[in-house]
Subunit: 490 residues, 2 copies
């Protein structure tokens, strides 16, 4: 934290700002293995809270956790044709183990469909064994050439759900249930608004029937795919002979889904809420929600002020108003030899949602001075009943952060574009989400991508569609098959 040099601003260079803010708020660091990152305690604390929130939602909807091996026989990856096509260029291969060359090289999992459906085939005999609703929290490896901290790394942490069902419709319902959980998590926990919808064929997961995703808009007007949920159909069941006996005694292939979100979301959080002073963490995901900074002028004043700060902390953390399992997370910064201003700077950089300052005058006035991280608004809070006021303020911050992010997304959204030329201008300029008609032809998608770098983020769900659906394909003028959302993306 010794580095007091000002951050590059977002306006100057968003990409440089992002790297600096991630490094200087100590969310992560580069590692000696190119493309691999170290997630430092500040970043991991956010990830842990993300995990807990998602895991609770998965369990509440009937899922259980398990763990499958890191290494997958190379031959497994090749069993599903589209799957190998999609992942072959990104694989890390173990060729030696225990001092010997292996007979069959092992792949370090880029995702676990193949090994998991191999196991399910062993476990499932009858319709009574279905559904299987398993999730795993794991690390995966994809050999990426151009990496960015959190957003695209050689190794990343994620959860991958893998389910097996008796019918197509059950699998489809599962994929959509999970999409709903991802959306709820993004909005209610990350305060990050998302669009939901279906991927076009070219952006579909390698081996899936249909891929759904949540898509968020970053402050540089580039989209971030923050989570995907796939209806895999029977593709993997056929490749791995995952069959079951139906109630009628017939033999049938199971229907699968898979779905995942990763540490990429930490990057999404930074790019959704961060400002030129550092990251801004939504209270529900903040390892520290409130930092109390006792203020003293002379050394004589210090003991009393530190004690007052500790008393305030005790009162806040003892408070039970959010339930015993959700106590306020409070830290007192009583360090000596560091100016208060430097402390403020540091906690702002680290994104703590609420700062409370407690000086001799506040003590006298029986109040506490509060500073919000999101709006930087400052106000005195009466000392009596502080826990209730602080908890309410944190809720307001959580709420306001979502509203602000939603407003930014709307400001970065264009509907009713009249021509492909206008579209190209937007993509060359301000960017953002652009809604337009599309004839459904992958060739059009490829052309737009080549010419503007924009891709179809999704075919939006009903709720996100324009009031009046576009009737023509923006590029060809042919009848539109879908309204789609275009953007340049991470």
């Amino acid at each position: 934290m010794a580095d007091d040099k000002k951050l590059t601003t977002r306006a100057e260079d968003f990409s440089a700002w992002y790297n600096e803010v991630v490094l200087r708020s100590e969310l992560a660091d580069y590692s000696p293995v190119k493309g691999s990152m170290v997630i430092r305690p500040n970043g991991y604390g956010i990830w842990e809270r993300m995990q807990r929130a998602l895991d609770d939602m998965f369990k509440a909807s009937g899922h259980v956790n398990a763990y499958f091996p890191l290494f997958i026989p190379q031959s497994f990856i090749a069993k599903e044709a589209k799957h190998i096509e999609g992942f072959a260029p990104e694989l890390a291969i173990v060729t030696h183990g225990g001092g010997k060359e292996l007979e069959e090289p092992l792949v370090v999992r880029p995702t676990s469909e193949t090994i998991i459906y191999h196991m399910y085939a062993k476990w499932v005999q009858s319709y009574r064994d279905l559904p299987i609703l398993i999730n795993q929290w794991a690390n995966v490896v994809r050999w990426e050439m151009r990496t960015r901290l959190f957003l695209r790394t050689l190794e990343f942490l994620w959860q991958e759900g893998h389910t097996a069902h008796a019918t197509h419709d059950e699998a489809e319902a599962e994929a959509l249930t999970i999409l709903g959980i991802y959306r709820k998590f993004a909005e209610e926990w990350m305060a990050m608004p998302v669009l939901t919808g279906l991927k076009s064929d070219s952006e579909r997961f390698a081996g899936a029937l249909r891929t759904y995703s949540i898509e968020a808009m970053m402050q540089d007007h580039k989209a971030l795919q923050a989570g995907t949920s796939h209806n895999l159909g029977q593709n993997f069941a056929k490749a791995f002979d995952l069959k079951f006996q139906t109630e009628k005694g017939e033999e049938a292939f199971a229907w699968n889904t898979s779905w995942g979100v990763s540490t990429r979301m930490v990057g999404g959080l930074v790019m959704t809420h961060g400002d030129d002073n550092g990251i801004v963490t939504p209270p529900r995901l903040a390892p520290i929600e409130v930092v109390i900074v006792p203020i003293w002028k002379t050394n004589d004043e210090r003991p009393a002020m530190v004690e007052a700060a500790m008393q305030l902390k005790a009162e806040l953390t003892d408070w039970n108003g959010r339930g015993a399992s959700d106590k306020l997370r409070v830290h007192v910064d009583a360090r000596e030899g560091i100016r208060s201003g430097a402390k403020y700077y540091e906690w702002e950089l680290r994104g703590v949602p609420l700062r409370l300052e407690l000086g001799p005058k506040d003590l006298e006035k029986q109040s506490v001075f509060s500073a919000r991280r999101d709006t930087r608004a400052k106000a005195a809070i009466p000392r009596a009943g502080a826990p209730v006021a602080v908890a309410a303020l944190l809720e307001t911050i959580q709420h306001d952060m979502l509203a602000a992010a939603k407003a930014r997304r709307e400001a970065a959204t264009v509907r009713g574009v009249q021509s492909y030329d206008e579209f190209k201008e937007i993509m060359a300029g301000s960017g953002g989400f652009v809604y337009a008609g599309w004839n459904g032809d992958p060739a059009v998608e490829a052309r737009v991508k080549a010419e503007t770098k924009a891709t179809i983020r999704l075919i939006p769900d009903a709720e996100f569609r324009s009031a009046t659906a576009p009737t023509r394909c923006l590029v060809t003028g042919e009848p539109a098959k879908h309204e789609v959302v275009w953007a340049k993306a991470y």
Copy 2:
């Protein structure tokens, strides 16, 4: 669960019993990669509860979590001489990534000292940056030739703590604090009594100054090392140039500790408590503490009995007597077409600590019939106030399981052995922990191991030493340097 064949008994073949019970209670399964296992939801549920309990204790003692890369440059492993010597034969090596041969092969971490201390060297400048108290939950790979489910697998899950301190004494205190946490966890959560103490030089971690461990006694009278805590001295700090400026402005190497427990503990739990009917899970680690089996004779009776069971479940899970974050974990088995006896058999196999049976007669008598998994004792519980009675019974089970395991360990412990011949007889026969004097010579250790397969498990802490310390080395008759505990071990 379709397999109704009787389990091999522990007396017939303990090793076969262990494998069968792990597979049939669906804790784990073999994977297509030799030596790697799949941890199934029943086993992972226990591991999750282990993680939560340990993680809470780590955090309460000031530790935070982080995540370091899976891949380590091969050159790193070689930097600490003893470390490479210890781990070289067990490494898995990635030679290809993204379709190309790598310039420097990458090692899949067998443990993370090297990469972590490399990072600490980057992060630490001054004594103000110390201590660093970081833990990570991760998978590691060691190329094992002879594997056993949970006990020794090619890949396993664990936590590894890595700390850096300004002085030897602080590092030593940290290593002992963690040893205490491991002991507390083993006793209070796993109901598995352990000895604590120091490892002899030959059993020390590759690169450590001192290794402490907790050692448990399994029902086949073989010992299990269930956790280790290492004072690494300055060995890794010197290898990775982890220096800091002291308060006096001098440059000094940091002092490190590392410590870990793994999924091996699930195997320890099985071998400590399991019986010829299946596994027995201590209530505090059981994903399901109570299974309620409604009983009906005719289909007409079923709805009322299922409803009564659901009501009982609701009452149990609503009860708040253990605090909001520790609700009773209850499952109702209302499956049709399966006899009650088959259900009992299945839940016993899976080790659920308490079964409640609820039939029309129980309803009439306003009572519930209970069956403990540990002692198989059965008793009626009054229906009114069931939650308090059930919670008390679970506490009794937890307590009794530890007491029973302690009694088994004591029965498998021999002190006051008179001669090396007697020692050899014991090791060839009943086995167990044997306390004896040792002259401190590694050659004696090596000889005993070669002749009896027994090793020095530890030099016990004061609390575990014999009232009268042996004065002579059991093997050579020379003056004893330490009292040590011998056993054959997993």
